[in-house]
Symmetry: D2
Subunit: 346 residues, 4 copies
């Protein structure tokens, strides 16, 4: 049994990590670190865990972590992991960062989009981007994994096979993202106040979302050329779920069926990616609470556009689930370990 620590214990990411680790055979939550509520039992903050968890949240102590846990999950806001992970260097501990601190390749890009100083470049160089199905081999050997953002997960899983097979114009990519409100975290705000969010669609950060450079960077790596993408995001009145509708201009004559086969081949050994058959479309409900990413393919022959739809649960495949999946790879456990639950339906 490996011992996991979760830093950022009172956020939704932590809650989801705890839910998933609870069913994991080889992993247990041994420490929950909370800056604001250490000393309190986790069930005071999360009554839904009452009787199933009994753990006092602790203040951060890097030396204690280094000695007493095997894996650290950073379920923290931007700016924490980049400070702590360097202090854990040279240590046996595996680090999986769910914040954006280590996702961009260099400090300048991070500073431009996140508005604060980036992590030390040597840490950035060492961190492996944890998009499990695209970089599995690198993840297996990593000690520091940077877990992808929710929108990048859905976008990159939807786009990578098309980019790799060079079937769309790399300068034509448009991603229209829709997300449930839990993606904005647990801190109340006007935009996420029930009376404002319910019966409403709210577009936000058009062309300015910090997930843009992340999407572009990993698309560019697959493409072997620099890619820019247009990306918009919309807040939808639901708690969980994220769906991206992705558009790209086809560069060759190819049918929906043929592209589906390309995708099914690309994801053949990846149990969490379900490439749908022709005329099917993903919905967020079909992946609710699960680590699945459902993808559908639609060639619009009238306009020569490829439309790709990609759906995940933002808190599972888009955050905590993919983090567990990465931990499984890093430790040679079965990829599905702790993640085998069916989606909750309806």
């Amino acid at each position: 049994m490996k011992r996991a620590a979760i830093i950022g214990g009172t956020g939704y990411g932590a809650a989801e990590l705890i839910r998933l680790i609870h069913l994991h055979k080889y992993l247990e939550v041994s420490k929950i670190i909370s800056h604001s509520q250490y000393g309190e039992n986790i069930t005071t903050h999360y009554p839904h865990m009452h009787t199933y968890m009994d753990l006092k949240m602790e203040a951060l102590d890097v030396r204690v972590l280094a000695n007493e846990v095997d894996i650290i999950f950073f379920a923290t806001p931007a700016g924490i992991a980049k400070e702590l992970i360097p202090q854990l260097e040279g240590n046996h501990v595996q680090c999986i960062d769910l914040s954006g601190d280590l996702r961009l390749p260099n400090r300048d890009l991070y500073q431009k989009w996140y508005g604060q100083l980036g992590a030390p470049q040597e840490i950035l160089d060492k961190a492996v981007y944890g998009l499990t199905e695209v970089f599995p081999n690198q993840i297996k050997d990593a000690k520091v994994v940077s877990n992808p953002g929710c929108f990048p997960t859905a976008s990159l899983l939807g786009l990578t096979p098309s980019i790799k097979e060079k079937i769309i114009d790399t300068q034509s990519i448009i991603i229209d993202g829709k997300t449930g409100v839990s993606g904005a975290g647990g801190s109340p705000s006007k935009m996420t106040h029930f009376s404002e969010t319910n019966e409403n669609i709210q577009p936000y950060k058009i062309g300015k979302h910090q997930h843009i450079p992340e999407i572009e960077h990993y698309l560019s790596i697959t493409a072997g050329e620099s890619i820019n993408a247009t990306f918009t995001t919309h807040l939808i009145p639901m708690t969980r779920g994220l769906l991206c509708t992705i558009y790209g201009r086809l560069t060759k004559n190819i049918t929906t069926k043929e592209i589906i086969h390309l995708y099914q081949d690309f994801y053949a050994n990846h149990p969490f990616i379900r490439v749908l058959e022709e005329d099917q479309t993903p919905t967020t409900k079909n992946v609710y609470g699960s680590n699945f990413c459902d993808i559908s393919i639609h060639v619009d022959e009238r306009t020569n556009q490829l439309v790709i739809v990609s759906a995940i649960d933002n808190l599972v495949k888009g955050a905590a689930g993919q983090a567990i999946q990465n931990a499984n790879l890093m430790n040679d456990w079965k990829e599905e370990e702790g993640l085998a639950q069916l989606p909750i339906y309806p």
Copy 2:
């Protein structure tokens, strides 16, 4: 006081027409026609109108209508108006069709997308497309108005100034539509069953929606050239509201501010179109229950894309409200008559 008849009395379109006409100075509901529930009082079907309406629904009788009403609103499924309107020809009655029967320019196109025979060509030729802000002069002189679809309303109002000013590549247009569930009408179905719709986004009819040829036809008229557009639709867990995120590749160097000015000029005398200032975005809540269409403009300089966001209440500006607005023009009433309510908030 002019007398209005509503055909299709038990649908959401009819309910919304009744709500709006209730506040109209020069119009009153004098007949409600229902194929399935004639003989019943309207309040049996719509208890929310209890004490404010007291009208027995009637069976259809074209001669009675011709003699006893001044304006007929067709809030009917596809296939009814195209049969009835020819029978009312040569008569003084004004007809406003909220179904799709008269929106496409020819019978073949209708048959291709609606899967049934189209209206007689002479009726199609006579019908004026009721996109109020774009074709106001034709509407003023019309006796038969074809009220636009909900998605075409938001899409065309969002795109027309850009097309007219030739600032985007006409072959690059992508419209990503999101709609509340009332757009699907009042008949229960699996897709609109609460437990299926709630906590869910459901894309549907990708590249196959019958609103596609309508959007393309009226864009083409504005452009003076044939336009195809990529169009996707998503069912969102909310009752009312429709938002289109529209993408087009810029053909010239132009700023967000400059485009906003173009739009503000274009819609200068149109009280229901609100072109937002830079960095603002529309939400469906801001137009809830009202006849407004809110539009925002975003130039993505990194990708040379223009992003336009356009939001309406699908049952008001996307259906009943625009129908009343057209009736106002046809009768020389003030354009805002019956439509001056503020959006309901929150």
Copy 3:
């Protein structure tokens, strides 16, 4: 045209007052007072009003108010009206207080339930309780009206005829209240954060809600004896709407039909109270956005219990709508003035 001032300009109560007054023939919003955002245009805070309102919010100045407006609506948190209204004494201005400051008959009771000092007793003695259908004559002559709370409105309208007719045991009353989230106001909090509220029912303040003494006091006045009632409240995942399910033990042999007749008689001249027929039940959707209170009656013969269901829109009949209705009575305007809109459906 009378000039209205609204104090507390950035809350949901103010937004709803503005929406309703916008359609009022004899009343106009001439001043909006905001402690926190004076100097800003109201549309900066409420973009849904853009183009329909153009008014700068002002800081509070009692002398200016006294001279320049005719009616003041206090859409303020507890504690403001009790300070300001005494300063407006001896003046021509009519005051309608939507906060709870003047609802309880004496300062001790207020202090016990609201946790702060009450209004001066002479103001309390002068204020008339604005439950329009129950105290219409007192309201007509009042200069200071204390507008009822949302739960008391639904509860008292549901119970008063039964209490007056002495058909239920006055010591057996149980009120089970359910409310939409807008009743909690516009300030974000954990309890009203979308991800916490959606897909959830949250009971709160069981037996401790500050509306309890208000309900009991005005029931007691009707009864001519002291009444205590059990009262629970539940937060429901919807924005608007409030429904009370009320239980009382029958003291005599009487049928559902007979009680319905009692209620229909009691509310015969009151257009906003709709007493439903046997086997009908109110829903909050049937009163959405309107000033209606729908009431149904159910005798459970097996248990000798009377069940009364009462539904309102918490922001209209439960707040701003009833305030306008009271203003209408105080100024001898038609009771429905500004309130004649149909409920918004669906």
Copy 4:
């Protein structure tokens, strides 16, 4: 590994049974019976199970069932189980009926409330009522278990300790039930159509719900006297979750704390019942997707009323979860087997 058959394969109950059995160590779904869709793969109907289930639904054949499965779950509408279970008599198969067919003690009562002929009396006599925490010993020895209704589960778990300890007047019980829409099943209807249900509370079947005699019968057994209860139900705009607010007049002087202790003692060895501490209240979100029943206690000293709040997930503890829990008892498996997931939050 025991083989389970699920009859009624296309309903929400079946979907939930499959989800839970999927994580069960000793149980596997070997047959899914569907009257309407046999021959189809279960994933055609339930795409969320795609890649995790691969089973063709079958037509009903009692002999095949008798020979090839060990446990049958009836996730059927009323009227099926009462026909089939007698045919399985004398056989080794364990039957767990999730419909109401076997819940009432005699045929007359069933006919009165369900409007159809009841099961043979000898089957009724043999069936054990599967309220796990209240009748565990009888369930352990049963071959036919009648799984409780969702409202009776929450009501009886909330009331039983108070009845047993005789602290409330047995003739004063009022149960105010609120349920999410999945309780109404997967068949579309006007009442469960999204546009009608969203932003709405709909009371229904007041005093007439078929769960009333079930609640009364099992309360009466605990009390040793005949109990009638007033029971109302409300449809709430959420998919899952059921909460009962229960009222009873106290017969003795007793504090909230003391009653909490009584409840904690009563449920001491029952891991799925969580009796909350003073001043806490259950929410449906805290039990979402789990088999928990959370219960809180509130003495209202002003009115001498005991208020009990009880919350479950209607599809888990209120249906499929309790059915699995009963199967665990019947087979001497650990009570939590297959049910150890944490609630999904948020």
